[in-house]
Symmetry: C2
Subunit: 681 residues, 2 copies
């Protein structure tokens, strides 16, 4: 196979990233200070990329095949050199890396804030700790000896003061018990009832919001700031093993996944993955993390692009300023900046291929982010089985899955994202929520309708997590149609339903861009079909189906800023017409927004014709999380899954040819409790 | 620990089973022929068992501790010895195995049919094949040379002719291609459009129902029986590997689960399982298969009994007599009689403990059913994880699960049932549907609104699978209360919800027996709480919660026999007051019933007080299965799961002390496609 490098979908290398930096800096004036936010591959326009991919798939790529320009997209902020000239200009530039020139430069309008950068968070912490106002306020809490202050930077939720649109950040404050002599002592169990707010441009703490610490019977806003001992009724809640009072359990025996002949997948070009008839590319970018491209099964096109587009986490405690606890974890600052560096033997088992990413700091220099994605196989029980009742012969196959995983940490909380491919032609997107639930200080002995007391003095607030997965399908081509499919009861009727057992299966074509909702009582699913191509066996259009998880939508009042910022969370499904660059369910700039802008609701409002067009499907689902005590101090994973499943796409079960061989390493045991009591059989 | 045997919950041994047979036969008259249907442990009344279990848990059992009587429940049919005296009396007797006497004998009323026995199915096949009427009818199909007839016995669905309640069975008919010289050639791809109906008492085929073979434009009842070539337009659809045209795929490399130190569980008494702070018993009986008893976590009571209670599979093709395709796979004949003998290295991986069962044939002799349940551990990804963003230290644990699995085959179809226990105190019941979808003959070139053409001439009919799981809780004791819990939107309001972000979490006590439905738009869950015991951290009652899967309920017209037979499938949740022996959601005798009797709807109708009483919770969920071509010839598993999760039962995440050790056998790969291309790193 022809070796081409870099592929138009491949992430930028460190060299390319640095070249983009150099080109931006070479074009900046001596009067400006340039600080970088993110640099990533500018994916080619679809119309340019498709012909290239078609040549690639048909094996016709040559070294002189024309290809889309190799471009970087660079987000940076430009300010003056002096303290007073800190008014920022936010720029997004596209740099042609071959021609070594800037080909476009967009300046962000004043109605938006650019996504935050982690170097800004560092500044918040420094400014806070240096602030006399903050120090003075903290001193009033009379922390016990040995306790230090932790300021945890958060995005500032929707701006709710008239005319306000400023680059604010907020700090959640905790105390850490240094007497443990362990830097990983869990400080979340000692929450302080203040939130300092920083104006980033001014580099100053503009105010400190005071938090009520009462229970359900108390007022929403405390009459006066709390002073005096504030964490004395709190208690440790450690999770690192060396600090657990009883240590770790001793009776868990090793369970290993062993692949003596190596994995069944191959990786070429550092982005092209082939496994069990699947062929796709994986890339990494700072906004979306791992992205899946150009998915084929057995040579047939299934998806053009699959990504996690956005998520929001609104908190439901009505006491101001908690309504400003609302994260947009993809859009606020780019989920790729929060990514974990995965560790062999911890984050997955077996034989693992890791992918590194490239991220930039404020100086724009590319830095390797090690092991940000892992690729591995797993066994998920029986795949299909049938026993012939007459002969007694069973044929049973295992269900092997290929997983593309990445994990992120956002302050207290983590998300694990898995793209899963199975041998029967299905893809799923799994989310696992874990980490430490967000807690605030509550007075001793009180309980609250706004959350649950999970540790003495620590109230875990009720909240939601709502994800949005973007599915850009290409079912045997790029012209597809979305069809709502329902199973509906039918009254008994002598002519058509004489015994009352019939139910009707009804298709409704979604012929213009629209939103839709899950409706499990109607078994409502959505098929993405190519109406121009019929399955030769069933005569029905080839397709894939989505069964949108019927989870609760955003609960905030529709007129609230919280709800208006996340229109994508007000319906389970959105169907829009493809446009280059429209990748983000809540729009490109959710940071401190008052309202979703450029998100799925705006796309749908174009009322585009979607009959055999280039459709995009967005699936929003989530978790209403009213914390249990069991979610503390680190919560067991809560798992959600979106399934994308072939429906009359193939002419039989695609996993029919999976071998039904016995695993010869499995062993019998008689279950005696100790190895010495009885030999294993 | 004191060795007591047999435990009151343990399944009958072969010796005990034979003793029960001997006692029944010794008490029968010389004029009667006794044929056995099933023999199993008569579980003690709860009021008798609880004191025994309490002594057991507190370590106070002695060899002379009084214990509940050891009894067998025996179902048998008694007939006269002559051909004309075949009127059957169906008896269910309780035999005291210690006292060696029959202590009760219930004769089944004429309004019910006793559950079927597999030896009756054998008779159906024999009678059919010997029937001149049947042979003559089959001859009219002009089968090609080399094709033989298969008659597949099915229960006869709801009796729908006035006054009819007879012991009928029906046979679904197919042709098998013997030219393959393979007895496992898939005969389902050659369906014949007849259903012979046998009157079991008369041992004769009373009629042959003729099936329409048209498409959606044709009438529900064909004008005349189909004759002439009938499978000539059908085609092979093999699934055994040696008959696959292209063989099996070659690029799947071994993936093994290795447990060098053995499993983490222990099994005592052949029924007591201890694993990771869990302690419970498993038993096997012919009606329900594997049953879980007396579940404790860390010494605290969680459940008294957990079982799969019933399932129904109604078919939706309105053409008579397809409305009689409605299985009750637990109640029709006892799911234990359909159980697979599991195979090492196929049905699960790792180190496996198998349990055998005991089943009886018509002569009542106990026969060992080998490996009917397997017990094993599995890894299910990350269990919990947190990375300290300041120190960069990640603590990550795996999620180990313990699985109690059994698998059943019902003619064409299989179900895989898994009881799963995790380290965080949760239990789930997983169902996997697989096997071969039920197909009927369809004329060439036609399509149908009643199903999907999955192979030439083979129409897979639309149908539902609705399961019911019975949960008999014992949350820190036997007096529990079920509380409906919802998260509800609240309008913005200056006093209570000034920013509109608040939502209300509302509890509603279910204080009398009732049915209820899932309502994901309200995030409706059901907590089973012990109101007498508060969580010391949160102050809320200790409990477990159920999030009932919001799947579609039975679709058949409420006035249809199909719907009336499965009232349990008309709501997602039923809450009833415990009574000894009430184990079956659709009643004890669903075979050919016209209406559910003695099922959950009848139990609820007692209107029992359920505030801190001995409650039982029944969860009905399922799958509306409109077959895809991909479900053919053997369908990839469709997975459903019911979760039973602690909510304020513990004082922290129970899995907090799970070790976060690295798996040292995991390996890196660079993903090169062949082993020889690059060394593994």
């Amino acid at each position: 196979m022809f070796k081409y490098s870099p592929h138009p979908l491949s992430p930028l290398s460190i060299e390319e990233t640095n070249l983009a930096r150099d080109i931006i800096l070479a074009n900046s004036s001596s009067q400006e200070v340039v600080q970088f936010r993110m640099t990533y591959t500018q994916e080619p326009k679809k119309a340019e990329l498709i012909p290239f991919l078609e040549l690639e798939h048909s094996g016709q790529l040559r070294s002189d095949t024309p290809r889309p320009a190799r471009c970087a997209r660079v987000h940076y902020v430009s300010t003056g050199k002096t303290q007073k000239d800190r008014r920022a200009t936010e720029v997004e530039a596209t740099v042609d890396l071959t021609e070594k020139k800037i080909i476009s430069k967009d300046v962000l309008g004043s109605e938006f804030l650019a996504g935050l950068s982690t170097w800004e968070f560092d500044i918040l912490v420094d400014v806070c700790k240096a602030s006399p106002m903050f120090k003075e306020r903290v001193a009033q809490f009379e922390l016990p000896p040995g306790f230090d202050i932790i300021v945890e930077p958060w995005p500032y939720g929707g701006m709710d003061r008239p005319g306000e649109l400023r680059r604010y950040f907020q700090g959640l404050c905790f105390a850490i018990d240094t007497s443990t002599k362990n830097p990983d002592s869990n400080y979340y169990s000692y929450p302080l009832p203040i939130i300092p707010v920083m104006d980033f441009e001014k580099r100053e703490i503009v105010r400190i919001d005071e938090l009520a610490t009462g229970g359900g019977d108390d007022e929403l806003v405390a009459k006066a700031p709390r002073t005096g001992p504030i964490i004395q009724h709190c208690a440790p809640a450690e999770y690192v093993p060396e600090l657990l009072p009883g240590g770790t359990r001793k009776d868990l025996k090793p369970l290993s996944v062993v692949q003596p002949d190596g994995p069944s997948f191959s990786v070429k070009d550092e982005s092209l993955i082939e496994w069990q008839k699947w062929r796709f590319r994986v890339s990494f970018n700072p906004r979306e993390g791992a992205v899946i491209h150009d998915v084929h099964y057995d040579g047939r096109s299934v998806l053009y692009r699959l990504s996690l587009s956005e998520m929001t986490v609104p908190y439901a405690d009505p006491r101001p300023p908690f309504h400003r606890k609302q994260a947009f974890d993809f859009g606020d600052g780019g989920i790729g900046h929060a990514v974990n560096n995965l560790t062999l033997g911890c984050d997955c088992l077996g034989v693992i291929k890791y992918f590194d990413g490239v991220l930039v700091g404020a100086d724009g220099t590319g830095e390797k982010a090690k092991h940000v994605i892992c690729l591995h196989e797993q066994d998920n029980g029986i795949g299909w089985k049938h026993t012939n009742w007459m002969t007694g012969r069973a044929v049973s196959t295992r269900r092997r899955e290929l997983i593309v995983q990445f994990i992120i940490t956002l302050a207290n909380y983590e998300y694990i994202f898995n793209y899963k491919f199975d041998q029967a032609g299905a893809i799923s997107v799994e989310t696992r929520a874990t980490g430490i639930v967000s807690v605030v200080n509550i007075d001793p002995g009180k309980t609250s309708p706004w959350g649950n007391v999970v540790n003495p003095g620590a109230l875990a607030q009720n909240h939601q997590h709502i994800f949005c997965v973007r599915i850009d399908p290409a079912i045997d081509g790029h012209k597809n149609t979305v069809v709502q499919n329902e199973s509906l009861p039918v009254r008994r009727d002598a002519r058509t339903n004489p015994n009352g057992n019939f139910y009707q299966v009804k298709d409704t074509i979604l012929s213009t861009s629209t939103s839709a909702d899950a409706c499990p009582e109607n078994n409502r699913i959505f098929k993405i079909q190519n109406l121009d191509k019929k399955n030769p066996v069933s005569g029905r259009p080839v397709g894939y189906k989505i069964n949108p998880p019927p989870t609760q939508k955003v609960l905030a009042d529709p007129n609230s800023i919280q709800a208006q910022r996340c229109a994508f969370a007000t319906h389970h499904l959105w169907v829009t017409k493809y446009r280059d660059g429209e990748l983000y369910a809540a729009g490109e700039y959710p940071l401190s927004s008052k309202k979703e802008s450029g998100g799925v609701a705006d796309m749908v409002a174009r009322n585009d014709d979607l009959l055999q067009e280039d459709v995009v499907v967005w699936s929003s689902f989530g978790l209403t999380h009213n914390p249990r005590v069991e979610d503390w101090p680190v919560m067991p994973v809560e798992i959600l899954e979106l399934n994308i499943v072939p429906v009359d796409f193939f002419t039989a079960n695609p996993a029919l040819d999976v071998p039904s061989d016995k695993d010869i390493t499995s062993k019998l045991t008689n279950g005696a409790c100790c190895k010495s009591e009885a030999p294993r059989l």
